[in-house]
């Protein structure tokens, strides 16, 4: 279970996230929704300590993974990012590496050199990302020869290869067509059997059909969180109602 408590994030003394407390249950898909600039991506990035790399960023409050504080002084951010993987809005495979090398780049970076193990891990990760059948005969090809949807699944395979406990997805389908989007969502459902998925999306339909729980953020604050079915049929807060019905935002 991933949990944040009173999480506050500011950039150059400007508060972007103002004390958000949320629980992301294990092996569930949680969606984070809200208008542009509400802090969705900022929240997501806090979960694998990406703000460590941003000058002027200050993170206070607590983020725990299975009870363990990830911002603890003894925690290595690189190791945290292996346990909590991330997929971005725009597919970003390494363009100078082959499909195969992209899939196992995380493992290579963490020092794995055994070729047999790497081959096995690449196949497993590409299979888990529902891409193996489409690329098994062209593993040495450049990833830029793949379609956008395939590139995104390659990025998911890259994240899965290091066996994360949580997968963060920042608008992973916003650049994809409906068929590629459906494949990613199908993949999310399969991944839910073994890991926790958190997705930031602008697409209300996607949040409604592809998540178990939904959290609505507005102006850096959590307005409402709960089971997706409840949020999209009978939200408790009028602000949530107004946002998801398109009356503001």
């Amino acid at each position: 279970m991933l949990e944040c408590k009173d999480l506050q994030i500011e950039f150059d003394h400007k508060a972007v996230l103002k004390g958000v407390s949320l629980v992301f249950p294990e092996r569930r898909i949680s969606a984070i929704i809200g208008p542009s600039g509400c802090g969705k991506s900022t929240l997501l990035r806090a979960f694998n300590r990406m703000h460590d790399l941003t000058r002027g960023a200050k993170v206070t409050g607590s983020v725990t993974l299975n009870g363990q504080e990830i911002y603890g002084a003894s925690q290595d951010a690189v190791l945290i990012r292996r346990r909590i993987g991330m997929v971005f809005q725009k597919p970003n495979p390494f363009p100078t590496l082959s499909i195969f090398d992209n899939a196992i780049s995380g493992l290579r970076l963490s020092g794995v050199r055994n070729q047999a193990h790497l081959r096995e891990a690449a196949e497993q990760a590409l299979t888990d990302a529902a891409l193996w059948d489409e690329v098994k005969d062209r593993l040495k090809s450049n990833p830029t020869t793949l379609s956008g949807g395939q590139q995104q699944r390659l990025c998911i395979a890259r994240a899965l290869a290091v066996n994360p406990e949580v997968l963060l997805m920042d608008e992973p389908c916003s650049a994809l067509d409906p068929i590629a989007t459906a494949k990613i969502e199908e993949l999310m459902f399969r991944l839910r059997e073994r890991l926790t998925v958190i997705i930031v999306t602008h697409n209300m339909q996607q949040a409604a059909r592809a998540s178990d729980r939904t959290a609505f953020l507005w102006m850096g604050e959590l307005v409402e969180a709960g089971e997706t079915e409840m949020i999209f049929t009978s939200p408790k807060k009028s602000m949530t109602e107004d946002y998801i019905t398109g009356r503001f935002g």
Partner: protein, 224 residues
């Protein structure tokens, strides 16, 4: 300027109101056809039915279009989903009115079976339930919707009382069996209309509060 979707939802509500108005008119005529023994009003009920059928088809299509094209959520979704149930409910009431009106045509020329005003009271109580259920929808009035649901028990009790009396009459006087049989069908239709009014009130509560109050005994007995 309202969004096109707002205008479409408003049109849906107006369409429902127009259909409910036609159904209420049919109900009133049905009640009068029996009370006044009016053949003219009984025939009028049947003539109004195609208008309600047309409204059903039109509003069904509107709801399907809104679901497909606007992918609504929350209160918008509840309104459209409930409309898909309200519309056939209203159409069903119109059909029950036609059933009663057909029996009125047979019964009106014959001597009355029931000496009292029970039949009028049953019709009036049912008509009032439909009227209040529609009002609750128009005004977003949850307490009124709850009152309609509670009123169903009174209609059921009155139905049972009249049914028992008709059975007793049939046993006592075989000459009134045919008329009483027609009347049993009449009161059964009134009772079914009251059930539909209850369903409408339940949908109104779902639209307003997002709570499903149907079959509450199941929820009360549900395991946690």
């Amino acid at each position: 300027m309202p969004r096109p979707f707002e205008a479409e939802l408003r049109d849906l509500k107006l369409g429902l109101l127009a259909m409910a108005g036609q159904v209420e008119e049919m109900l009133h005529l049905t009640q009068q056809a029996l009370a006044e023994r009016s053949t003219h009003k009984a025939e009028l009920v049947s003539r109004l039915d195609p208008l309600v059928d047309e409204a059903e088809l039109r509003l069904d299509q509107t709801c399907i279009d809104l679901l497909a094209l606007r992918a609504p959520f929350a209160s918008d979704l509840r309104l459209i989903a409930s409309s898909l149930k309200l519309v056939p409910g209203l159409e069903r009431i119109a059909d029950h009115c036609c059933n009663i009106a057909r029996r009125a045509l047979i019964l009106n020329p014959q001597p009355p079976v029931l000496p009292g005003d029970e039949l009028q009271r049953l019709g009036a109580a049912t008509e009032s339930m439909v009227h209040r259920a529609v009002d609750a929808f128009i005004n977003g009035d949850a307490p009124m919707a709850r009152a309609v649901i509670l009123a169903d028990d009174q209609v059921d009790a009155l139905y049972l009382q009249i049914y028992t009396e008709l059975l007793r009459n049939m046993l006592a006087d075989p000459l009134c069996i045919e008329r009483s049989s027609h009347l049993i069908i009449v009161i059964k239709n009134w009772e079914r209309i009251a059930d539909v009014a209850t369903n409408i009130a339940e949908e109104v509560l779902f639209i307003l509060e997002g709570v499903n109050v149907k079959h509450s005994y199941l929820q009360a007995n549900a395991k946690p």
